[in-house]
């Protein structure tokens, strides 16, 4: 029963890892840029949801679309004004730019909001459900359900909408997409906005069980890269599966080994995947 409980906890946790990492995977898949500042956009999303709770009384789950919207705009213009300039530059320039963006966002938050850890206070933080002998924590369950909804919405958007299809076309062949009448530059803006917006959405839904501070993103940075490498860099469905796999590995290793080794097990699997199956567990976009 303890294993079943750990797997359930891992799935609930991993669904959110999936959404957070889908954004990173989307940005790489479409723009070919590894965005080292991705986790900082998560932190920005958390702050948007926190202030929406503190000043407007909005639950973080309700404020999550707002976090998405604000960070989408921020990402749209970050791509237009900054990232777009290095897309055809050597990878080193892209790394310098996104790492610079990471440092700027983190320290900008420090200047604006101070170093305090902030937590929202909502009623379901102390609620849980019993399914026989299994226990389901309400904030984790709600965050997971939101993660599933937004992933479904993303899938629909990418599959059905013109803009979604344009993003996929640009990812496959920018030149052919341009010839077909797609505004490639604008599509890059939208894809980057969408990618960081999704991560920010994930940041908002986890706010009921985690505190926000300027460095809140750091703990997710390595985790995000692990998820997308497991799922296959550039694959959005792979990121969701990778997220759930990472959640289950973390949860099970927390049960089987001393808690300090929780991430060690994860990274051993991460290295094994890189060595034996570098294309990830799943392929394709």
């Amino acid at each position: 029963m303890a294993y079943l409980q750990a797997i359930l906890d891992g799935i609930l946790l991993g669904g959110v890892y999936g959404v957070i990492s889908t954004g990173l995977s989307l940005v790489f898949g479409v723009l070919g840029v590894v965005n080292f500042a991705q986790a900082e956009f998560l932190m920005v999303g958390m702050y948007v949801a926190y202030f929406a709770w503190a000043y407007l009384g909005l639950d973080p789950l309700i404020a999550a679309p707002l976090a998405f919207g604000v960070v989408f705009v921020l990402g749209f213009y970050s791509q237009k004004l900054l990232v777009g300039r290095v897309m055809s530059a050597p990878p080193a320039a892209q790394i310098f730019l996104t790492v610079g963006l990471m440092i700027t966002l983190e320290n900008g938050a420090l200047v604006l909001f101070g170093s305090d850890f902030r937590s929202v206070n909502v009623p379901y933080q102390i609620q849980g459900f019993r399914l026989g002998e299994l226990f389901v924590s309400a904030p984790y369950l709600y965050a997971f359900l939101w993660a599933v909804v937004i992933t479904g919405a993303l899938w629909l958007f990418m599959a059905r909408s013109w803009t979604g299809r344009a993003i996929r076309a640009v990812a496959q062949d920018p030149m052919a997409a341009t010839l077909a009448g797609i505004n490639t530059a604008r599509t890059y803006n939208i894809a980057f906005g969408l990618g960081v917006g999704l991560t920010a959405f994930g940041g908002a839904v986890i706010l009921p069980y985690i505190t926000v501070s300027p460095t809140a993103g750091v703990q997710f940075a390595v985790l995000m890269f692990t998820v997308v490498v497991l799922g296959g860099l550039g694959s959005t469905t792979g990121a969701l599966v990778g997220g759930i796999v990472v959640g289950i590995i973390q949860s099970l290793s927390g049960l089987l080994f001393p808690i300090q080794l929780q991430n060690l097990v994860l990274f051993i699997i991460f290295i094994l995947v890189l060595a034996l199956r570098p294309q990830g567990l799943l392929k394709g976009v």
Partner: protein, 167 residues
Amino acid sequence: MSYLNDSLLIIRTMRQQGLTIPAIGGAAGYVIPNFKEGLGDLAENTLSVASAAGDAIPEISAAYKQKYGSFMTHEAVAFAAATDAMIQAIEIAGTDDPDAVRDALDALEYCEGFAKGMPGGCINFDENGHNAVTYPIMVQWRGDEPVTVYPPSDATTDPIWTLEPTQ
């Protein structure tokens, strides 16, 4: 686990599981204003070990709260006491010569000012440089701040060991 994130998670998870026994924290995240901000009424009656508490020096504590907007944390009390001890040592030594100030600190027996905020009420360093007079205390959240509940010599109120069920 005493980091703020962990302390909030522990208390919330206890309540999720229907546990109504009071939690005893290990200072850090359990005894800072953010703990109450994060938990609201759930913070009430949470116990924690602490190195000091503002209720030992109520007048200074009230002035601190008026100036900074929150209660005097145990770090604030301890650092103020340490600074006060340094000022006394420099005054006793009558010079800023490091060796003379060090010797004055070593011989210091000070039971006034901020030193009264430390449990035991005095500062007197032993051969290892520790304040030999002081000891840890137990505090419990009451309203917006933790107050001393143990030992009886320092307690400003009695501990509460039962919590109202939250669900």
